[in-house]
Symmetry: D2
Subunit: 377 residues, 4 copies
């Protein structure tokens, strides 16, 4: 480590939950210092928020364009190096694009963009500028998710033959049944949320997890989405059948009307030798099923854990780390990449994962519109 | 209760697991006495098994036809009243048919028959003879399954909006990857197992559970089955998308290649007010999710349980009953029906449930063959 | 197996829970047939109950003495061989004594007697008559309890260094706080329950489990009992510190005022290599902790299980068996002993275990009375 | 919030685990900025560590005395306000004393001191200087621990009648059985660890939790400690019987030879209406047992949670926060106290809790030495 990396933040002010998550993550491993940004389009709130979090206001800018022009006017050594984009979805693309074009590294919230075309454009630019670009699929930062990835890679469950990933929430139930209430939800408004609600918001996490863990690519899918009401145009529930590169079958199950569920993101992967089970709400345990043997539960911080898992664990076994620590591990990965230190490909989700997510959403919608037909990915 | 009902058993000899399950179930509530049957087509083994279980050999018959003719020759008061058919699947139809035609009540293992046509024929005869006919979907005998049924009926989770039922096992993994081994498995032989392995064996349990619990009917389905190898013709894994009568969506997930899983039959049902979760491997707990409230776990034997649940619980809370007790509850239901005592429709699965199961399997195969198209049920 | 063993039952009529438990257990493995007994001191109820459970009334006797005299008058080959004593505690001694003296084998509910002296007398007689004598510490019949015993014996956790056994229930809470109500509870009446309520009823199970599993003997103990109210003379809660034969320390924690607990009998045993954890309310899982390795969960019915465990498991993995099956395993053990077939010492608790239980209760009360001093056992 | 509070840190350099825990906690709620300290007695390591965590070296001092003199020489507005003492136990007293005498607020790791006398002295000084003084019993920072405290206060389980707190670890097992290895462990060296190993290290957490949650005081105790080997003078396992102010009984069970356990700190508290169960390894769930009702599981972030719990929860339900977040909540409490903002007494453990912890350890040792006699507290 050493000198801290200068971090700027766009968005995430006020009582933004994603804001506190990124701030704490940036501090956690002593790699970043927040030096400025634009927390809010409203100047009073912007500057007020900076004060609230104890930040000097020299480099709090009135808007994104000013941020770019002023920062670029600074000597290279003083300039913000990495920018976290925490704005509403439709701003991800124009901001990330301009940041890349002006030489910044980018940490961008998911979904990467609101259309697949934008995603491809961003990916092209990022490849040209050789910037570090991370898409915050936060859950890949959990040590036990990384442990699963390594175990699969090393053959702990043999050749994969079945993938089943669930992401069930109940948060939309209280609004979906009232036509007035549901109109007021931005995630159900196509002009703000894009072509999908449920698949875009949580289906992408499930899809990313599937490819992250297995090292396989999904080749085609069949999606059945549910909008529940005729006057609601975006999915709030859906099941997606998957065929992976090597004919492996799988499925992704998502719902925002699984009433009473909190954030029930669950992974089940089976191979020729055994299976792996993980639940986000108990992130510090991975269950390994092995044919003919007692099941085993892996927990973080042990010598038996993979290097990638241990790198993301700060305390000894039995001291639960949580989602802030998962995000911190992604920031740690970015710091290493920015400093050109060695790091593992599993340490942060690159822009490719953001693009894949956009492909997934687009094809889910296409399959559903076609009457639940198989479509390529 | 009072005088015991005379029970005959066809099949279930030797080290048959289903045999011991039915025998213990018949004893448990003091309703039945086993008076005879045909345990095995081989006379030595047949008679030997009767001795092993301490049964007199007077009414052990050399074959099914002799069973029928000899029992029918007895005075009505001495005759066996109920016959449990525990034979291989393809014998269910001819035996159950003849039993019905000769005035016996029947308890038949699932699947009811090997074809849908046979199922319809049996149903017709059963309706004419007014016999009691139970199909042993054993899992519906668990007190907490019955509790869920009653809770749903009484509105505990509001109007159902999502049904997700899993039945994962790993038992076929050790044989499926070796072409010689898999040829030796009767469940993978269409001449013995019929048109389906996985859907017929465990998919039917999941389907029955879906309709049993919700009180809804599945109207159409889209199935994607997996045989894993080209030279294997029967499914060993599959996902089925469901549309229920009132447009409710659901899915059934089954696998016999979920390596390391034992008997992971799991239910998740969500409504407008909450959700219900149950796992067969922990049968004595039902989790009720209620929007905005702490989750609750219901266990058997409490005054707060439904009458239907309590009727199936013999001991106070905290004394785990298991699958033998679930089957015993089904036998209790049959005993009441035979004695023309009042009983609840949920106390044993009637022949209609066996027919529905056959419809389900047939349409899963049809949907898959059609390239994963929606088909009516 | 073969010819069934003739079983008599004393007590257990009406809606007795222990009655149905013993009856089902006796049927389960096809070893016993109930041929007679005395279910109730009231003749109408006695004979009525026999009818209810479908039993012929020839050998239902009006009282215990008649049972003895009439049965002894029968030819040896027709005589009842084993008698299950399910009466209130104070009758265990006189009945078991007379049964032994008249050549019967005995299955006796716990606690064995109401005083230690009686226990020693019974033990002496049993040794002389060489009768089979089982005390139904039911929980030792669970396959996973037997699995633990074998694992410990084989060194899975190394040398034992810590034993912690909990038995928490909440059933007495609703009555203990009302002086009228608590007077009406027979378990709190010294004339019926003897010198202890909590230790006698559930502490003895915990104590038996400690010695059953570890193969060690408790050498001394320090007990702190709680009666909660001055006008209540029997313990309803208590903690007992233990010193085992080899200086191993342990403790037993019991309560009947652990409000809301059902039957939370939990075992934690640690050795130099690892630990074993088991909970009665989830009886089909044993957790093995091994230093430096992922924890493992053992379940019944696998080839990896011990022979003693497998002998007590009737179905394949994932088909939960319960407490009826645990008791059935004890009856199976008795059947083998009666038939002079080989059996493992762990298959049923012998009279010695009943005597040890009485010693334990007596010394807990003595230690507590002495102001929580160490006393020898 | 607003201007950040100037924080100094003594100790916690190198790969100190407690160091990273405090640093992240101080950042998390944007209240503190670390401006200096003494991370290590070795100057090279001290200054090197500061660089590693990206801290300017202006206010990194060569030793504690220099820290005091230099900081005190600064204008009040620039001076460090709060100092976290993360040094070995024996330094807590002299450092905290001098810090208090020079007007600093103190956050001190537990145990507060190495003797009870020192604890009393510190408490006296702290009361005189009116400094904010927090002892980091970290586990009280968990939102669900705070939820339990509030639920008990509001009568959710009625009047408390039984307290059972476990703290089992296995970490000392690998060293305790080898006489050379155990001599090398500082926690087993009385000159460094004081009069107790197990009770001092983890027993104090259990004791603090007991009083924190119940609002009761322990009046007397009986302790049985275990050193396992004659040549080991400090306890590595022990059980403590408790009598609380109102005659409530309880116990604390601790072990460092519970082989295979990680950090199994578990709480069970029962009252006249129900019980509460919590496990540190699953910190985001509290189980409420209520007589005659289904058990309930409370999780963080819901409107049904207490204010004190919600204040310590940053994200919506289902996003697990961990032990870093628990410590952050304690720092938040301190920040409010330093700023003289309103805060709840449950937001950080005051010096009194440190003193109580020292009393507890002293009396455990005294009771054990007296042959397991009751001693007052």
């Amino acid at each position: 480590m050493g000198k801290k990396i200068k971090l700027g933040i766009i968005g995430g002010g006020g009582d933004s939950l994603i804001g506190v998550l990124h701030r704490v993550a940036s501090f956690t491993n002593d790699n970043f210092e927040i030096v400025g940004g634009v927390f809010n389009p409203n100047w009073e709130e912007n500057i007020g928020f900076a004060a609230t979090i104890g930040l000097g206001t020299d480099r709090i800018y009135k808007d994104f364009d000013t941020f770019i022009s002023q920062e670029c006017a600074l000597p290279a050594a003083e300039r913000i190096e990495v920018v976290s984009v925490l704005t509403p979805n439709f701003l991800h693309f124009p901001m990330a694009k301009k940041l890349l074009e002006n030489g910044f590294h980018v940490i961008c919230e998911k979904p990467l963009t609101t259309s697949l075309e934008e995603a491809y454009i961003l990916q092209d630019i990022a490849q040209k500028t050789k910037a570090v670009f991370a898409v915050t699929y936060t859950y890949t930062g959990y040590p036990m998710v990384r442990q699963m990835r390594e175990m699969i890679r090393e053959g702990a469950i043999g050749t994969i033959q079945k993938v089943d990933i669930q992401y069930y929430q109940g948060w939309i139930n209280p609004v979906i049944h009232d036509s007035e209430k549901r109109k007021a939800v931005w995630r159900l408004d196509p002009s703000k949320a894009g072509i999908s609600c449920c698949m875009g918001d949580i289906g992408t996490h499930a899809f990313n997890m599937a490819e992250y863990l297995t090292g396989l690519e999904v080749n085609s899918l069949l999606a059945a989405l549910n909008t529940l009401y005729e006057d609601n145009s975006l999915d709030i529930d859906g099941t997606v059948l998957l065929r992976f590169s090597n004919q492996v079958r799988g499925l992704i199950r998502t719902s925002q009307i699984a009433t009473g569920e909190e954030n029930a993101f669950q992974v089940k992967i089976y191979g020729t030798k055994g299976g792996l089970l993980w639940e986000q709400e108990q992130p510090n345990a991975v269950t390994l099923l092995s044919e003919g043997k007692p099941l085993q539960v892996y927990t973080p911080g042990h010598p038996y854990n993979s290097e990638l898992s241990l790198k993301g664990t700060k305390l000894p076994p039995g001291h639960p780390e949580g989602i802030f620590d998962a995000m911190a591990n992604i920031y740690l990965g970015v710091a290493q990449a920015v400093r050109k230190e060695p790091y593992d490909a599993g340490e942060f989700p690159p822009i490719r994962d953001g693009v894949r997510g956009m492909q997934f959403v687009a094809q889910c919608v296409a399959s559903d519109k076609a009457g639940n037909q198989w479509v390529d990915l």
